[in-house]
Symmetry: C2
Subunit: 479 residues, 2 copies
Amino acid sequence: MADDKKLVTQITSMEDDFAQWYTDIVKKAELADYSSMKGCIVVRPYAYAIWENIQHIFDGMIKETGHENVAMPIFIPESLLQKEKDHVEGFAPEVAWVTYGGNEKLEERLCVRPTSETLFCEHYAHIVHSYRDLPKLYNQWCSVVRWEKTTRPFLRTREFWWQEGHTIHETEAEARKETLDILDLYEKLLTEYLCMPVIKGRKTDKEKFAGAEETYTVEAMMHDGKALQSGTSHYFGDGFAKAFSIQFADRNNKLCYPHQTSWGISTRLIGGIIMTHGDNSGLVLPPAIAPIQVVIVPVAMHKGGVLEKAAELEKRLKAAGIRAKLDASEQTPGWKYAEYEMKGVPIRLEIGPRDIENGSCVLVRRDNREKTVCALDSLETAIPEMLCEFGKAIYKKAKDNLENNIVEAHSLEEMKAAIEGKARFVKAMWCGDEECENIIKEQTGMPSRCIPFEQEHISDVCPVCGKPAKHMVVFGISY
Amino acid sequence: MADDKKLVTQITSMEDDFAQWYTDIVKKAELADYSSMKGCIVVRPYAYAIWENIQHIFDGMIKETGHENVAMPIFIPESLLQKEKDHVEGFAPEVAWVTYGGNEKLEERLCVRPTSETLFCEHYAHIVHSYRDLPKLYNQWCSVVRWEKTTRPFLRTREFWWQEGHTIHETEAEARKETLDILDLYEKLLTEYLCMPVIKGRKTDKEKFAGAEETYTVEAMMHDGKALQSGTSHYFGDGFAKAFSIQFADRNNKLCYPHQTSWGISTRLIGGIIMTHGDNSGLVLPPAIAPIQVVIVPVAMHKGGVLEKAAELEKRLKAAGIRAKLDASEQTPGWKYAEYEMKGVPIRLEIGPRDIENGSCVLVRRDNREKTVCALDSLETAIPEMLCEFGKAIYKKAKDNLENNIVEAHSLEEMKAAIEGKARFVKAMWCGDEECENIIKEQTGMPSRCIPFEQEHISDVCPVCGKPAKHMVVFGISY
């Protein structure tokens, strides 16, 4: 049994080599595969099931708040991409260009969408004429392409899967509210379902989205102290509307430009889940998005009645709305223990002849390996409770990691010292001048993460220029 | 009210110009929009909601039968596409080629996937080593690109959305069974959920998929007598496995090639729904996939209690699992009647002050405009029953259309005469020689649709060459 375990769990320890630990989990937990299409990944069934669960949760949230799904074309003609100046400057250098259709050279190059603001704007110009047509609250689930130089599965790949919401509103106030309402949904998704604590705030102008007036973000911290930008929501003002001539007759029959937003989360969240909750035995999955919440491992499987009882339990748990899976394969229990630990299944249910005699089974939690003997009668209540506790426990652990790795700094020297040899978040004041932000990035290696909504007063002045401080900013190295 | 109605319902009648009628519905029912990306469409919320309902139904069917979803890269390197000879010949002339990534010319061209056999095969070569790894029953929901010259919304566009299943099996028998099992699921989806009768059969070699040993199909008939190939399922044998060096150790530890299948349905089904059920007032939607099953139109809306009662009914119907929508907008009832007829909503529920007094409402069916007075107390049972009847009625109507437009022919002359001035299906015998199939296509304009599973004996000989007939074949002009 010990041997079996070793075979599956041979992964690099995260203390030895965090990057290799990550890569090992991606491979051993069967999350992704490489192909001859360099820089892209194959999302394997287990990872795709995680993504489907995330989609299901977030799609429910946005539909409940009146959003509708659409599908825009996969290509953007070059001339369309160029309509908004800042936007094209931000994206043109990193897009894939289609130049041939079949054997014919195209008259105009087409880029494979890196994001779809331009297509949504063109469509809005067609369908928005009156205030009665507003708001339009559209979203699409798709993949997009950005021609990255260095890639890592889920975190940065040339193709990734995401949702992109694009909304258009009668008033600035309404669009601003939408931007922040969505940020709240992202926070809810991350904290309540993915068990990932976040810092919520506004990006500095330097770090905002190409073409946006304001970008808001939820920033999470990984095990290694690095940041993962986990979801962003942009307020565009009427800049895109002007560039794309979207106008509507308002309540006084006056022609006006509408106000827009866009917002997205992506499959990089899967990378975030790995690096927030995983350990040296593999993945640890938040129950809300775990494809398997309870794996049933029969012990002494060939003894009379064991497999039958295990199958009965699987049926009962499924009927109770729990994602349960019985593994009745010929592998040893030890092999199965290691396999489902690698896959991060929150609870393992062990059942053998003696358990059946006693009318009980053993539940083992993936996060702390705590074993509980549980009466078979009460599984339908005990397991949901344990899953709930499990979610709270891994959230708390991640929250502790975040809190233990944020430090205050009052000077550039303190900022440098704070991250010496270890990535973490550094809170510091800032005058609001991009010059000072650049100096901090150059000298410490840390870009700004965001200007958190929850501000603290650390000092009166900017640590770089000594001028009066406007905001507290969180800095940190990111994925 | 009459004027309001006209505004919305000004569509070409299908008898005058079927193609224009189709285009008018696509526009007026807000199903699709054009963009500067020629040959592609914007799938608008109403059509996308139909597609989501189709996805939900079919995804449930395939998951119940053990299939798993994955995501493959959007691009295929040219060298990978070329690995299977027939396949590349079939697809290379109609793919979009990416030649630049950012500002750099790529060393190898990448095509935007027209279908993903090659990517699945490469992945299977990585993960299939033993009979224990088989079968793999994978599917992906995505969009694909084929560089079509002439396009029509939903029916033929350069980008379309689909599912592509790709499975790999230990034995030929298992793969053949999968191919046909999936065809049965397509038949179930079409007949039971989309209310579209189909002819199920095998494609001739001339019409089969590039690289397949056998292609099976479900063929539907549109209002105008033309065929819509609505779903295909392919058996590949071990041809792809050999081209991609996929081998596994069998139960005797001998290296073998596995057997494969692939199968797909696409957003062209939305075009099929329009052309099977629509009429001169617009769409008629099968209840199972209608985004709105019941629209509630309050009459004399501003009289006390009407809107409240209408809202209460909406809540009650939703609680009963019915997709109900209250339209409380300021438009007149007449405008709303026409609008939701255009959108094909199966049942309209009218409620006014007098109805409320009587404890009843009026239900109007979209297909035959039949009005029924219904007690408010019994809506939760009456509406599901009516939706069920509705589905049966539109299926029967489509089935009658199909049966009334199939004719038998015993000679080439009879075949030509059968479709003179009107597209329809022609049943005729065939010797099995591609030469004769070509002659029929040249002289009648009809390619073969399929060799139906339900064979009839029409005559002993092939109508072209006079040699002994092997099969009865259905011929027809198609979209």
